[in-house]
């Protein structure tokens, strides 16, 4: 947000706060602070003279037992050595504040801001720049018929999650069964708090737009008993050349015919490129007694790139996936679950199949690759006792480019409502198809959560990683390290409520217990 705009919103807030009686002011403030210390170790490109290498078993070139890559006729060969250990200590502090009670029913100010820094030298952790980040800052008026927001806000739909500095309005006529909304402003980049022309956004600095994009869009939705339908349109415009960098639409629906069935689905269309984007349909069944939940679905996924980059012209291939899952709740508090998915890439639409063409045969250097994959998982959670949660999951996947398998488990012990202690561990094996390295890592950790007094929440955690990086040469390595985290949350509300700020229903999801 431009500074002048932010000042205007702040001034409006101050004016309204002073105009209303103090006892009528309502507020809810949540202040989260997180600190983490983590390490990672990448790779470092090195080279040797070609004359110092030798041909090893299998015909490859080696230097001192290390596989190297030698270009034809080149004087030197290259290889990736282990990189140095990089350690980051990101600190994040986020304030989320809502203020209302200005004498106009339905008027609210909302601000969510964040301070980031890396306490270690080198600033190695992603997402810590800029240090000050404004997630939301808007004034809102809302009544049953109308909602208007102005300031820094966001929209979400199946086209993505977009922030912008501008305004959006929603009207809900016919008792809310019809919903029409429109929005516009200066866009932030997708899934970022920075505009697309920010230096912090693109460290590789290629075809980054010089000016900030403008975003416009709207939705029309109908909500009837057991049926929701929504049509979406959104366009982003490069203001420097006055051309769209994204021009997309979508339709989506959710149908609840009863008897425990829910059908959801939708389809995207890229007007800029003229192709159908990610589409899906899913059927879920939940029996009335909540003993079983079944989900089956089909999804066609097509990656989308902005038109200011060239990536889309490479005709990225989408894939079609079929998935299903079963959740069984055989006794109170016990969930047994499994999920499977199989997918295959669509080649015909984007690749020229010349396998039968004798005049233009496929390149003899073609990389043998997979064009399909699968993944599945199975697990169980027991949360039948107030003071104990047991959880274990096994997951495996294999697909073009990578595969992995592993398991993790945890035990959460809550002797008091104000204290939760979690111990967790896991194993992961992750060979990558185009690299020598097959890494396996064991992790063991513990986490303590406390609520010493109402409105204050604290947590500390530590994880030990023992990693082995296998490869058939002298660069086989082991790397073990610790990771630490700590968090502190203050909640202050005019109502006197001191809840965590997350709704209890969120915390009742088994996976969320112990995660905040």
């Amino acid at each position: 947000m431009r500074l002048s705009g932010f000042r205007a919103v702040a001034a409006l807030g101050g004016l309204l706060a002073c105009a209303a009686p103090l006892h009528a002011q309502g507020y809810h403030i949540r202040w989260d602070t997180w600190l983490q210390s983590a390490a990672f170790r990448g790779v470092s490109l090195d080279s040797v003279l070609a004359s110092e290498t030798e041909i090893g078993e299998g015909g490859g070139s080696y230097y001192d037992g290390i596989a190297v890559k030698c270009g034809t006729g080149a004087d030197f060969c290259t290889y990736f050595d282990l990189g140095e250990e990089r350690r980051g200590a990101p600190l994040t502090s986020t304030i989320d504040a809502s203020i209302w009670g200005f004498g106009i029913q339905g008027l609210k100010l909302h601000v969510k801001g964040r301070y980031n820094t890396d306490l270690e030298d080198g600033n190695v952790w992603p997402g810590t720049r800029p240090q000050g980040q404004l997630l939301e800052a808007y004034a809102e008026y809302s009544n049953p018929l109308l909602t208007v927001q102005a300031g820094r806000t966001h929209v979400y739909s199946r086209l993505g999650f977009w922030g912008f500095d501008g305004a959006q309005a929603t009207i809900r006529p016919i008792g809310g069964r019809l919903k029409l909304s429109a929005y516009g402003g200066w866009a932030l980049a997708e899934a970022a708090l920075l505009p697309v022309n920010s230096e912090d956004l693109n460290p590789l600095d290629d075809y980054q737009p010089a000016e900030r994009e403008v975003i416009v869009g709207g939705t029309a939705g109908v909500s009837l008993s057991g049926f929701d339908l929504r049509v979406i349109y959104q366009r982003l415009i490069d203001t420097e050349v006055d051309r769209p960098t994204s021009d997309r639409g979508a339709v989506e629906a959710a149908v609840r015919p009863g008897a425990g069935f829910t059908v959801t689905g939708g389809m995207e269309y890229n007007f800029g490129q003229g192709d159908i984007g990610t589409s899906n349909v899913q059927v879920a069944y939940q029996d009335p007694g909540n003993w079983v939940r079944l989900v089956v679905g089909n999804r066609w996924y097509r990656p989308t790139f902005p038109l200011w980059s060239i990536w889309g012209v490479f005709s990225p291939a989408g894939y079609s996936t079929r998935y299903g899952s079963i959740g069984l709740y055989v006794i109170p508090g016990l969930e047994l679950r499994t999920r499977g998915e199989a997918y295959s890439y669509n080649q015909g639409g984007s690749l020229v199949d010349n396998s039968g063409d004798t005049e233009n045969p496929p390149s003899p250097l073609s990389v043998a690759t997979e064009d399909s994959g699968w993944r599945w998982s199975a697990g169980a959670t027991y949360a039948g006792l107030r003071w104990l949660v047991l959880d274990a999951t096994y997951a495996a996947q294999y697909g073009p480019g990578a595969s992995s398998q592993g398991f993790n488990g945890r035990i959460t012990f809550e002797p008091l409502r104000q204290v939760a202690l979690t111990a967790h561990g896991g194993y992961l094996e992750r060979p990558l198809e185009y690299r020598f390295w097959d890494a396996e890592v064991y992790s063991y950790g513990a986490r303590l959560e406390l609520q010493p007094i109402p409105g204050i929440f604290a947590n500390v955690g530590a994880i030990r990683y023992d990693e082995t990086r296998e490869r058939p040469d002298a660069l086989r390595s082991e790397w073990d390290h610790w990771r630490f985290s700590a968090g502190l949350t203050f909640v202050l509300s005019s109502s006197g409520s001191r809840s965590r700020g997350l709704h209890p229903s969120i915390l009742r999801i088994p996976e969320m217990r112990g995660s905040r």
Binding site: G42, V43, G101, W125, G272, P316, S366, R375
Partner: protein
């Protein structure tokens, strides 16, 4: 931006003026159809039947009290018993905590006895935000509802379609700002609670196989490239194929199929200029590439390779 703020303020004032500050909504009739107006002539006031409600005693009269008239002789017998399902809603409201209120303040609309609605509470409590799902903390007024049965183990990974199609369903319990915990995770929290604790170690396979769409929450430039650059994985002008892909020594010769299947992974390390070193000479377009539509939509990207001589251009 000043103009925008002015416009917003004007909109707010206009909307407020059109709606009025005391739109209390419509009241809901009682569930059991009991005719209070008819019985009121006999009972005199509410306390005749509900006298114990503010002291925490019985909120309803004993059925025998009805039978004192409805004895089948004077008037017909009735089959009535007090509701057994407790509070009619998931409210924390307690009559004993509101002894100062007259019954009619909440339960009388014109001459009809009705259930109190939310706007009645808001008139005193000054929250005025119930229609606004973005206000934090529903638990201020509501008891803890159980999580819907749809929120099973895979809900976090599968909620997008339903949340987008019918966001009002989510707003029954959730506030919008909650979405930002995962959709714009902060740098220091362990992945905002979305990923498991050891996800950093295992993210290559998940990202490569598109187990989840990383760009839903992470900007590839700010997050993926920045970190890969620190880890030494970014090509950044080096010769293509040097080392990283040496699991297959002829990778570059046939990388097209791989690249098209996993372009999002390629761009986590490679710059556009890496590809354009060769692809200004070798056609990168697939068979379904609609060049004419691209040119009409935004010819800027075409000019990266074609310069001013964009095929099909004027």
């Amino acid at each position: 931006m000043k103009a925008l703020v002015t416009l917003a303020v004007a909109s707010v004032v206009a909307a407020a003026a059109s709606t009025g500050p005391a739109d209390r909504g419509s009241h809901v009739p009682l569930r059991d159809g009991f005719d209070h107006e008819k019985h009121g002539m006999l009972m005199g006031d509410c306390s005749a039947c509900h006298g114990g409600i503010t002291s925490g005693e019985a909120a309803y009269p004993d059925p025998s009290y009805c039978a004192s008239c409805h004895d089948g002789t004077m008037v017909r017998r009735v089959d009535w018993s007090p509701p057994s399902d407790g509070s009619p809603a998931n409210l924390k409201f307690s009559h004993t905590a509101h002894p100062q209120l007259e019954c009619a303040q909440c339960h009388v609309q014109e001459t009809a006895v009705v259930r109190a609605n939310v706007a009645t509470c808001m008139a005193c409590h000054g929250i005025s935000e119930h229609q606004n799902p973005q206000v934090s903390d529903c638990s201020m007024c509501h008891v803890q509802p159980p999580a819907p049965s749809s929120h099973s183990f895979e809900w976090r990974a599968q909620h997008a379609s339903e949340a987008s199609a019918s966001p009002e369903q989510c707003a029954t319990c959730h506030v919008r700002s909650d979405c930002l915990a995962c959709h714009r995770p902060d740098a220091a929290s362990p992945a905002g609670g979305y990923h498991p604790a050891d996800f950093l170690q295992g993210h290559p396979a998940a990202a490569y196989n598109r187990q989840t769409e990383c760009s839903t929450c992470h900007n590839p430039g700010q997050f993926c490239q920045a970190c890969h650059q620190q880890a030494g994985l970014v090509s950044d002008g080096r010769d293509l194929g040097a080392g990283y892909h040496d699991g297959n020594r002829n990778f570059i010769g046939g990388h097209g199929l791989v690249a098209r299947q996993n372009l999002e992974s390629c761009v986590a390390c490679h710059t556009e200029r890496d590809c354009l070193r060769c692809h200004t000479r070798f056609n990168p377009h697939g068979s379904d590439f609609d060049a004419e539509r691209w040119r009409k939509t935004n010819p800027t990207v075409c000019a990266a390779c074609h310069g001013a001589a964009i095929p099909g251009g004027d």
